[in-house]
């Protein structure tokens, strides 16, 4: 190994040295969310990335990272696809017991909401009341 390669190996080791081997496979989650914040018209792209992270991990028998099912469920709720929203909120509860009370509230919201495809914000004052009462 020449000096240059050694230096490079040291640099890479240092750059990754503080991190540990990953628990989860996140796919393009973080970059995709950043793109979405930067450009809100990129919502489809974010939704697709979430689904791809879910499908890739499920197919490999791996745990889907925390929050991903819930974020995807919310994308479904926002676009009026209520049955899918319910499915994914329930998946989050099942995978992560910590999320259960919050997800149960989200499921109630999705079930109680008219199955419209309107672009209006799906959570209204009455729903917030529901959240505050803890479902």
């Amino acid at each position: 190994m020449n000096l240059k390669t050694t230096a490079l190996v040291i640099a890479i080791t240092l750059l990754t040295g503080c991190a540990r081997p990953g628990l989860y496979n996140w796919g393009g989650y973080s970059n995709s969310m950043y793109t979405f914040y930067k450009n809100p018209e990129q919502k489809m792209q974010f939704t697709d990335t979430l689904l791809s992270v879910i499908n890739t991990n499920e197919a490999a028998g791996k745990t889907v990272p925390p929050g991903i099912y819930a974020e995807y469920g919310y994308m479904m709720l926002e676009t009026g696809q209520m049955p899918d929203a319910v499915i994914y909120f329930n998946k989050e509860s099942k995978a992560w017991p910590e999320a259960k009370p919050f997800m149960e509230t989200m499921v109630k919201l999705a079930k109680g909401h008219p199955k419209s495809t309107s672009s209006k914000a799906p959570i209204g004052a009455a729903d917030v009341d529901l959240i505050q009462k803890g479902g």
Partner: protein, 217 residues
């Protein structure tokens, strides 16, 4: 040249990221033993209005990788907005116990962006961020952990010298100014905040080292 540059980068990284300062007291954290973290919208003290949202895109992963359940940041943000809590300063001022109870979260992470800027000079642009992190117990409101993290980035300088080198540096500086590299910097800040022993967060319940890292945290 390349060797020198890489060595310099390594030293810089060590000096900023893995620096060991006074070990933190983890008594309250261990006692509370939080398993889930709610991340509320970040307070912005920088002049860059987009900083909090961009930062939010970097925060879930490093915390989940430490072994915690992290509530879905975008969904949480939307629910809070609909609840009239779109103002981050207001959310940070709310009673943490009440806030945590809305989501049944064990603890809340509050982030304040102190600095998020790119200073342009013709031959060198310096991008820097500074983040304050505070975790509070969701059942008592007591502070469990806090950290201040700064990160700097300057595009590598062309040391070729002469007028060509100067022009190259000017172009690099202008490129960094046009599109500052905030996201990698934010990721580095998070890693430097959460991971190092005696400074970062103990392993959470989903990490292998959960409750096995008492000596380090």
């Amino acid at each position: 040249m390349v060797v020198r540059l890489i060595s310099l980068l390594s030293i810089l990284f060590l000096a900023t990221a893995c620096l060991q300062t006074v070990p933190k007291d983890y008594a309250s954290f261990r006692n509370a033993d939080p398993k889930s973290l709610l991340i509320v919208p970040a307070v912005n003290r920088s002049l860059e209005v987009t900083a909090p949202d961009y930062f939010l895109a970097t925060i879930s992963r490093p915390l989940a990788e430490r072994g915690y359940y992290v509530f879905p940041v975008y969904l949480v943000k939307r629910v809070m907005e609909e609840d009239g809590m779109s103002d981050a300063d207001m959310v940070h001022a709310e009673d943490p116990v009440q806030l945590a109870s809305l989501f049944s979260a064990d603890a809340i992470l509050y982030v304040t962006i102190q600095k998020w800027e790119s200073q342009y000079a013709v031959f060198a642009t310096n991008t820097q961020i500074e983040i304050d992190y505070v975790i509070k117990d969701g059942s008592t409101g007591v502070e469990l952990w806090s950290h201040n993290q700064k990160m700097n980035y300057s595009p590598s300088q062309n040391s070729g010298g002469g007028i060509a080198g100067l022009i190259a540096n000017a172009i690099t500086a202008a490129t960094e100014k046009a599109a500052p590299n905030y996201i990698p910097l934010a990721r580095q800040a998070n890693a430097a905040a959460f991971n190092p022993p005696h400074q970062g967060l103990p392993s959470g319940p989903y990490a292998k080292a959960y409750q096995q890292d008492m000596a380090d945290y």
